[in-house]
Symmetry: C2
Subunit: 175 residues, 2 copies
């Protein structure tokens, strides 16, 4: 086990600014490209991260702290952001994510003030009993998964362009 | 084909600052963790990116422009950075990468001033004939590959910690 709350927070708090630096100013062709039908573009990945801040991570943590294993977590629809037809700029989307993440981390720091709370348990509708430490670890790895997805989407756009080098580029082998 | 020089540069110029924001201040445990034996840690990935700026991308471009297909590219040792036992901080490593990347992009902009140059060809020791546009596309996707590698290395560190959520986290399925 490697989880450490302070270290986990250090990753969670870097994600919004990392995405801001990486994505701000990129062309619409980068921002709207996809790996294929039924896959997300960069904007949709950001909207999904926003949904997680609004409806997933802190809500589940609060459920564990208040109710323990008594009730399963409320369902989180991993595709709900696809139904919203929000018209806004990348900058607005990134800003909303940054603000929501800051709020989430403030709440996290207020809610968890001792290591023993990391062992508290809740009930996941699919997995059964889960611990606070697993939930927060998952939050971190979920960020990493979607950063990985963003760069994979972009790499896909140049699959044909790289020509024979495709063979050396691991990212083009992973879908 | 999607390659566009301006768009390619827009990604290449964002990589150093993205890595700076994402990595600066992370604990040594994040910076030195590995996916397993014989795999790179984050510092080693950065050293590899630095080697590419010093010995690969611009050198190959210059070879194409000067010699065409006459001589194969000089070999680039993708593992050379592992033999250097450089003692320096993450900040120094990131700074060197940023400076070298800035120089590379200045040279790129000086060397390529017309679209027709993108079609010029050189001779890759393994692949045979390759074009300038393929070389520059590969440079972009190479950045993306290593950003993806960085986050995958970090995700691996929490593989056990996420507990049953491992099943939902795509990044933990890709090695």
């Amino acid at each position: 086990m490697n989880f450490d709350l302070k270290e986990a927070i250090s990753v969670l708090e870097r994600t919004p600014q990392t995405l801001e630096v990486f994505l701000t100013g990129l062309s619409d062709d980068w921002l709207h490209c996809r790996e294929g039908d039924e896959t997300w573009n960069i904007i949709e990945v950001l909207e999904h991260l926003i949904e997680g801040e609004k409806h997933n991570w802190i809500k589940r943590l609060e459920t564990i702290l208040k109710e323990g294993e008594k009730n399963p977590f409320p369902a989180f629809d991993r595709f709900s952001h696809l139904n919203q037809k929000v018209e806004r700029s990348l900058e607005q989307t990134l800003l909303e994510f940054k603000e929501l993440r800051n709020e989430s981390l403030s709440k996290l720091k207020n809610l968890i003030h001792s290591d023993s709370q990391l062992e508290l348990t809740g009930y996941h509708p699919a997995f059964g009993v889960v611990k606070v430490r697993q939930l927060i670890s998952t939050w971190v790895v979920h960020d990493l998964t979607h950063i990985s997805q963003l760069v994979r989407i972009m790499a896909e756009r140049y699959r044909v362009d790289v020509g024979p080098w495709e063979e050396y580029l691991g990212i083009l082998k992973k879908r």
